[in-house]
Each structure stands twice: as structure tokens, then as C-alpha cells.
């Protein structure tokens, strides 16, 4: 046993984040901690890493009780953490990032040659290939993560915590990561994997703790459990599997033809032609940053395309103002809920009103009616089961999942025929995700056409009647539901072709 946490309790105000949590880790094992967002798994790891102090309980590392005041203490005890958001110096090189804080020095100076040598040796020892002289800014996400791992290995960590490590990776990068986890464990390192992706857990973990509402509700050996059982333990009830049935396809509601966008001499979008019919959900699969956001802003009118047309419900709205496009019958659930989706400092009432402020009965002759707005906000909050203390609290006080539910509620309640839906469940827990998915499917059943943009491949595959794959601003494939598996889609998403597959 390399470490043990005994009876840890942590509260934030009235919220109990960890309630009498006890767990332990053995040498050379991969331990997974699974649970929904807010189940307390991140909190318990922050306590272990010295980022938070527990109210009560004890941490024992290598047989000795420890008190970590900050991450340095944890690091000194041999604990390292690969954060969900990478902590890297982008303009600096891979090697410089790895040695920061324990530089290879010669007197007061940095010994550059020896730094490169040390980092090269480290990378070879653990089989993690990198170019020590490359700048982080030029490295893809998968490589950056590898740098994070090497950074921790360089500090001689024996215990490595991974916080949602696959959230930002492409399917191929995820496989490489899982391979890395296995080889690190084989090299004698002990690994804690925090995640809510059960496939990955089943693929690598030796042992699993399931957390729910701040408590450890189950401990299982990977060999004794399966994904279904874990899912039930996590959410407390069986997961709905989506049998979405056949689409009642009707007329084309949204169409783009040869849509191009050139910015600063770069082709951001190349001849995108797609259509969304009534009663179907059309998914756009792709690694973030391949033109999805640009496509959406061209369709919704936030930007004007360089050439090509956008048609909403039979009306050519190319380059028209946002208002006009929305009036033509389009709703938009934006990618980032706090930047474009809402005003975090505004109240829930103000946020539900947005877009309807000129309409009766919410306002007449420029004077808003507080009563109507409150009434409406409370109805949406109730209908969509948004957990909020009052309709007058601020948007940013809601949890991510609830904020997202409110935005979805606002946009779907417009009842428009076309819905553009971007990353609708990014960073929300399984409960909120299910509820958002059910709402989208209901609108589909009512004959709306939905364009779903998501970097979460499972979401695309579960919900879509048809899938387009986008790569470097170009649609590289179109597939009906059920004709593709995630591996092959993943290959297309990173620029491969189906012929590359062996």
C-alpha cells in the first residue's frame, strides 16, 4: 500500500464535497475513481495533492501520516498530478517546461546542452517520445499531455494522478494515453485515474472506486465488474440507451451550399455543402478547431461567409444580421455557455428573457414587465428541472450543468424549426446530459431539424441520424446512422482515409 486516505471529510459552506471518504492505492496499480460531476472525486484528489485542506481525516503516504499545505509538499512526498487543463509555458520548449523548478544548472546559469540530454534520457527511459527542443505552442494536445507526464516523472513522482486525461484528446491519442498508463504502471508507478469515461476505465484500471454525492459508494476489482454495473452505481439508476427510432424526414430546413470562409489568407471553411431535414439530427464530428465554430458562426450570422449560401426554411439568409436569421426560424445553443450563451453576471430571469425582450407580453413600448418575465423564467426553470435557489440569482452561481440546461431551455422554448446545437453537454454531468439529450430528441420528434456539433464522439453517434465528418474546414465524409464505428470516424477526424485502415 503506497498511500491511504482515512475518513476524509471536506465541506464548502453548506455543501459536503467529501463525506467520510476512505481509500487506498497499491504500488504499481492503476486505480480509477469514477463518478458524475460533483460527486467529489476532484475534491478528494485536490486534498491529496495539497490544493485543498480536509476538515478532518488523515493521509498516510508510505506509512507516514502527512499534512500537505500546498502542492510542493505533495510533490516532495512523491505525488504528481496531470491537470485537466494543462499547466505549460507555451512559448517555451518542451525541455524547458519539464525542468522548470529543478533546472539543470551550472552556477547561476542554465546548462542548455545538459538540459536537452537529461530530458532526452528521461523520455527514452519511459518510452514517451518527444522532441525536447520543440516549442509547446507548436505541439498538438496529445504531445502536450505527454510533456505534463514527463514533467511529473522528472520530479521523481511515485504516484501520478490523472484528472480527466482523455477529455481533450482525439480517439487515437486516447489509445496512446491508455498505453502510456499501462507502461507506467508496469514501470512500478502507481496511478490514480479520475474520469467518467467508463470504456477507458474498463480498458486499463485494476481497481475502481465509485463516488456519488461525496461518498465512496462502491469498490470493485475491474475483473469483477462491467460498464453497466459501474454506470448504475454512478448515477444510481440504469442509463437510458437511446433507441431513437427512424427519422420522419421531411423537407429541407437548413442548407448550406459551397460555403467558404477565408481569413487572413487562410481557408477556414472550404466549400461546405450540407443539409438538415425536418425531423432529423445531423451530427458534425471533428476534432475541435477544424472549422466547426466558424461554420456555426457563418450559419448563425455572427460572421459573413466569403462565398456560398445559407438557406433557413427556404429563405436565403447569407450574411444577414443575426436577428433576421433567428427570425427566419433558427435557435442557437452556443459552444461556450458563459461567453456566448449567457451573461454570467445577469440574473436567471434576465438570461431567460434574452432574445425575447422586444416581444409581448415581456415588454410593451419599451417597458419590460417584471411579472411576466419572472413567471416565464420560473416556468422554464421548472420545466427543465434547473436546480436554482431563485429566479433572481445570478447565472454564474448555477453549476455548469444547470446553467447549460437553462440555455437549452431558452433556445428550445422558442420552438424554431432549425436548432444549431454546439457542445450541448460539455462539462455537464450524466443526469443533465440525459435530460438535454431527451429534450433534443423530443424536438426532433416534433419535426425540428437539429445540427449537432460536438467533440464528444459518443454523443454524435448516439443522437445523430446522419453524420458529417469535418477536417481542416472541409467535409470529408457523410454517413447514415449505424454505418460507422468510432474507430473509423476517429481516423477520418484526424485526416486519415478509410483506406489507411489496416
Amino acid at each position: 500500500m503506497i498511500f491511504e486516505m482515512k475518513h476524509i471529510t471536506k465541506t464548502y459552506g453548506k455543501v459536503v464535497a467529501n463525506d467520510d471518504v476512505s481509500l487506498h492505492l497499491n504500488r504499481g496499480e492503476i486505480l480509477a475513481i469514477v463518478g458524475e460531476n460533483g460527486a467529489g472525486k476532484s475534491t478528494i484528489m485536490k486534498i491529496l495533492y495539497g490544493l485543498e485542506k480536509p476538515d478532518s481525516g488523515e493521509i498516510v503516504v508510505g506509512g507516514k501520516p502527512c499534512r500537505f499545505r500546498n502542492p510542493s509538499d505533495a510533490m516532495a512526498a512523491g505525488i504528481g498530478m496531470v491537470q485537466q487543463h494543462f499547466m505549460l509555458f507555451e512559448p517555451m520548449t518542451v525541455a524547458e517546461n519539464i525542468v522548470f523548478k529543478n533546472e539543470v544548472r551550472r552556477g547561476p546559469f542554465i546548462d542548455r546542452a545538459k538540459t536537452l540530454e537529461t530530458v532526452e534520457a528521461l523520455s527514452q527511459r519511459y518510452g514517451l517520445k518527444i522532441d525536447p527542443g520543440a516549442r509547446i505552442a507548436d505541439c498538438p494536445v496529445g504531445l502536450r499531455q505527454r510533456v505534463e507526464i514527463l514533467k511529473i516523472l522528472y520530479q521523481n513522482a511515485e504516484i501520478i494522478i490523472f484528472d480527466e486525461p482523455s477529455a481533450v484528446l482525439t480517439p487515437l491519442e486516447v489509445e496512446a494515453l491508455l498505453e502510456t498508463l499501462r507502461s507506467l504502471a508496469a514501470a512500478g508507478k502507481s496511478i490514480v485515474l479520475i474520469t467518467h469515461k467508463l470504456q477507458e476505465v474498463m480498458a486499463v484500471a485494476d481497481r475502481i472506486y465509485v463516488m456519488r454525492q461525496g461518498r465512496v459508494v462502491a469498490e470493485r476489482l475491474a475483473s469483477e465488474t462491467d460498464m453497466n454495473e459501474l454506470a448504475v452505481l454512478m448515477v444510481g439508476h440504469p442509463l437510458a440507451s437511446y433507441d431513437i427510432g427512424r427519422p420522419l424526414t421531411g423537407e429541407t430546413l437548413l442548407e448550406t451550399r459551397d460555403l467558404c470562409l477565408t481569413e487572413g489568407g487562410r481557408d477556414v471553411l472550404r466549400r461546405i455543402s450540407l443539409h438538415v431535414d425536418a425531423g432529423e439530427i445531423v451530427g458534425i464530428a471533428g476534432v475541435s478547431g477544424n472549422g466547426q465554430s466558424d461554420l456555426v458562426s457563418c450559419i448563425t450570422g455572427l460572421r459573413s461567409p466569403t462565398s456560398g449560401t445559407v438557406t433557413v426554411c427556404g429563405r436565403d439568409v447569407t450574411g444577414r444580421p443575426v436577428r433576421e436569421i433567428r427570425d427566419a426560424g433558427l435557435a442557437h445553443i452556443p459552444e461556450d455557455r458563459y461567453i456566448w450563451g449567457s451573461a454570467p453576471e445577469g440574473t436567471l430571469e434576465e438570461n431567460t428573457l434574452m432574445g425575447k425582450q422586444d416581444e409581448e407580453p415581456f415588454s410593451s413600448r419599451g417597458i419590460v414587465s417584471q411579472k411576466e418575465i419572472r413567471h416565464y423564467a420560473e416556468r422554464l426553470i421548472g420545466d427543465f428541472a434547473v436546480k436554482a435557489a431563485s429566479s433572481q440569482q445570478k447565472m454564474r452561481e448555477l453549476s455548469g450543468g444547470n446553467a447549460q440546461k437553462l440555455i437549452v431551455a431558452r433556445e428550445l422554448s422558442l420552438g424554431t424549426p432549425v436548432i444549431i446545437c454546439c457542445e450541448p453537454t460539455r462539462g455537464v454531468d450524466i443526469g443533465a446530459m440525459e435530460s438535454i439529450h431527451r429534450r433534443l430528441l423530443r424536438r426532433r420528434g416534433e419535426g425540428a431539424g437539429i445540427l449537432l456539433v460536438s467533440s464528444e464522439l459518443t454523443e454524435i453517434m448516439n443522437l445523430s441520424d446522419r453524420i458529417y465528418v469535418i477536417f481542416e474546414g472541409q467535409l470529408v465524409g457523410e454517413f447514415p446512422r449505424g454505418s460507422m464505428d468510432d474507430r473509423r470516424l476517429g481516423l477520418l477526424m484526424v485526416g486519415g482515409t478509410l483506406a489507411d485502415e489496416q
Binding site: 510542493s72 491537470q83 499547466m87 509555458f89 517555451m92 524547458e96 522548470f100 523548478k101 547561476p108 546559469f109
Partner: protein
Amino acid sequence: MMYLAQVINSTLREISPILLVALCAGVCSKVQVFNIALEGTLLTSAFFAFLTHYFLHNIFLSVAVAMAVAMCMSFIMSFFIVRLKGQPMIVGMALNTFARGFTTFLLSVIFNTKGAVNPSDMKGLTKLSLPVIRDIPFVSTVFSSLTAIDYLSFVLAVVMFVIMYRTVIGFRLRALGMSASAASSLGVNVQRYQIAAATLSGCLIGLAGCLLTLGRSTMFIQDISGARGYVALAANNLCKGHPLGAILSSALFGFTTALAQSLQGTAIRQQLLQCIPYISTIAAMAVYNAYAKRKAAH
């Protein structure tokens, strides 16, 4: 020919104070402390350099006091911005306004005047006269009446380059400026580094302050810093905080200031001449930014 040598000479004398302040601005910008209090720091340290020398007649003590005062101002600036999370713009402007009022107040209390103090019997920094150079006609004019601090400023630019780009401490400072969260995730106390870096680099402004009141002539005039703090800020912006680049960008502003001075007495109106350094600041920033934008597009 003689005229050219004089212009170069006054350019050199204009460069050093701007360069010293720009070097401090460079360190501050690298550690992400937006220091707009440079102007007030320069003015205050110039005043105290003069004051110390006036009463104690000790040039070394004066330089030391000026550096200490500048470091105090820089500490207050960085403590308010970094620890107390004050708005950098507000903190900076407050210190600048304070410096103006404070020096003017002391001027009237101690010297009983509102404009300038120009004691005739005061001896400022020694003008170095270098052995070989003083015998070459043109060159001797170029390098005439420069003080040790003028020469030192160029050496310090190189020293700052070595510190920032070759040593462990410089590496850490640059890195934590790029991402404070990454640095603190590795257990570096970012705030402490920021305050220490801003405070220590403040001593460079102290040296610049000495040049203003004890360099060319020994006198204190109200607002003697004459926006050099802001000009240095612009110079630092132009070279992106690189100490060697600061020599070039300070030279640009030093030259325009010298040009404005040398054109005095010609047909061009004085008010227009006085605009030259500031207009060139704006022009340089505009040209530079347009260039950077075009480069980024490619």
C-alpha cells in the same frame, strides 16, 4: 560635421535615462506586472538624488538614496498590484500623481520655490574623459560630457540580457510571466517573485533619476522627468521586453528628442519641436503594430 557630432552626443545623453527605465519596464512586463508608475518613480528618485546631494554633498550617497527611493516606489506599486490586486492603471496613475504633488510640495517647503532650483556651487556626476578618445576630433565630441552612469546603462542592458535569458532566475521569471498558474502548480510562489523582480529592477530607475538631476546639469525643475517614463514604456513595448532590443528602441526615442533640441532656434516653432518625441512614439507604435499584425497573418 561638428553639428552631427553634437547631435549624436546629445542623442547618447538622451538614450541612457530612457534605456535604464525601459530595462526596468522590461523586467516588469516579463513578470506580468503592468508598471505605469515608471514616470512617478523616475521623478521621485530624481528629486531625492538632488536633495541628498544638495545637503550632504556626497555623490555616492545620492545615487544610493535615489536607487533606494525608486525601489520603495516600485515595491509599493507591485505590492498594490500583485498582492492587493489593485487595478494597475489606477495604482500607476495614483503614484504618478502623488510623485508630482509630493516633489512640488517639498520643493516649495525646502527651497521656497515653485519652478526650478539651480544652485551654482553644486557639482554633479563627474563627466568622464576617456584617454584615447579625447584626442580624436570628431569622436571626442560624440563622447563628450558623458557620466559613468551613461556608459553603465549600456553595460546594464547586456547584464539584464544575461540575467533574463541565461540564468535560472531569469528563466523562472520569464516562465512565470507566461503562465502564473503553471508556475504555481509546481510550487513557485509567483507573487513573491513578481514583487521582488519589480522592486529590484526599480533601482535602474534610480540611476536614471540621478542622470536627470545630477547628470548634464545639477538642477531640479518641476516635472523634470518630462514623460520619459511613458516614453520608456513605449520603448519597451517596441522591443517586447528584450534588454538588447531596448538599446535600439531607446536610441530611436533618444534621437528624436535630441533632434528636437538641436532644431531649436530654427524657423520651426518650439511647440511643434517639443511634439517630435511624442509623435514619433505614436508613429513607431503604429508602424510596429501594423508590421506585427501583417506578420501574424502569414
